[in-house]
Symmetry: C2
Subunit: 210 residues, 2 copies
DNA sequence: TAGATTGTTAATCGATTAACAATC
DNA sequence: TAGATTGTTAATCGATTAACAATC
């Protein structure tokens, strides 16, 4: 993939959300500046993105909501269902599990895993929790595409290796460590603590400048 | 700030973590390629960063751990303590609260807020939970610098506005909506669901290419 | 010394923005 | 028509990488 595609897809997903709302409201057209405002970019950026994805509008009217939605959805494969597993049922893992219940119909967390025997074979927010020893076979058998890692840092790489060996295609890693994956696996790193630390740094810096 | 500083500071925080570990292990020098490997960038990038922050090394030996640590720490003001409030004590909010207990000594979540009266005046993971009606006065009086927003999307902008009016300098927003802040406030957006959706997209794409 | 690494400049690469004719 | 917006190219901007002399 183009390196740029990462951010472009992020923006596209946000555009889609806006258009989805407008569609529900019965609006027929949207302007680039509306989308720009909603997503927090320039109108020029929006037009560039939409051009890249072959979405066409007309001057003065804007972009037609109906075909915009269909076009982007077919590009993003909105109708396909993606199987996800979550590994590490701590507080963060539970927060994600509980949030996901029926919120995103095309994403399904098919199982969660934890190393703690006590947690195994229970159900949390409608998701079955299995022991991590079953992870490899489950992912392989069910052809799971995405793994979410919410374990402590020291086991994150091991879990990633198991997932990759079992055929996973994308990993979202919340553990505060840079894990290594082959080119053929998409990796998204989310380091919550790092983000808070960074914000603290800039906040203190701004405060100091006043 | 330079726009680039955002990512540079992120890398610097990671370098610091590596160096901290090495210091604890009694190692005296680190090479740029070690840091590069740990953070997931090129050695050239590391040297650029360290040059920008006036950290000097010597050929063949590398960068001295001791002065590296002191230099970066003074730049990042490691010794100063940053006051943080968290708004929205749902599952995600609780996960962050429980994680932060004593984990980061220079960051302190001084209070959490929720609109639910039932949750008020309780203590969770050592952090007092107050009603959101007290937010403005608390932030102003205590001169809190950072706000973490873990509320639903529809109240995120309102909370942000209160925080800003009360004098906050940095916001970490987990609500799935792009909030607007003035130039004088640092904003970090973390959209967990968006990241998972994006990973699902690329995972499906990679799987389709095989 | 030989070899590896630093410091630093230049080159590359790519994303974002500006600009403007065409268009409704 | 007048005015605003699109489609598209060119310009800008900035981050990352390459390259290599200096150095230990």
């Amino acid at each position: 993939m183009r390196k740029s595609e990462n951010k472009a897809i992020e923006r596209l997903l946000k555009y889609l959300e806006y258009v989805k709302n407008k569609k529900a409201e019965g609006q027929n057209y949207v302007f680039s500046h509306e989308l720009a405002d909603f997503v927090g970019v320039t109108p020029a950026q929006v037009r560039q993105d939409l051009m890249d994805f072959k979405i066409e509008g007309t001057p003065q009217k804007g972009y037609p909501v109906e075909s915009f939605f269909d076009e982007v959805c077919s590009h993003l494969k909105c109708d396909s269902r993606t199987k996800i597993v979550l590994v590490g049922v701590g507080n963060l893992g539970k927060a994600i599990l509980s949030y996901f219940v029926k919120r995103k119909p095309n994403l399904e967390i098919v199982a969660a895993f934890d190393s703690d025997q006590e947690k195994s074979d229970r159900i949390y927010s409608g998701t079955k929790i299995l022991n991590v020893s079953e992870l490899y076979n489950f992912v392989k058998k069910e052809r799971v595409k995405v793994g979410i890692i919410t374990t402590p840092a020291d086991s994150a790489q091991d879990i990633a290796d198991i997932l990759i060996k079992a055929g996973i295609r994308g990993i979202v890693n919340f553990a505060p460590i840079t894990i290594k994956v082959p080119e053929s696996v998409f990796l998204e790193q989310i380091d919550i603590t790092l983000s808070i630390e960074k914000t603290a740094y800039f906040a203190e810096k701004i405060a100091g400048e006043k």
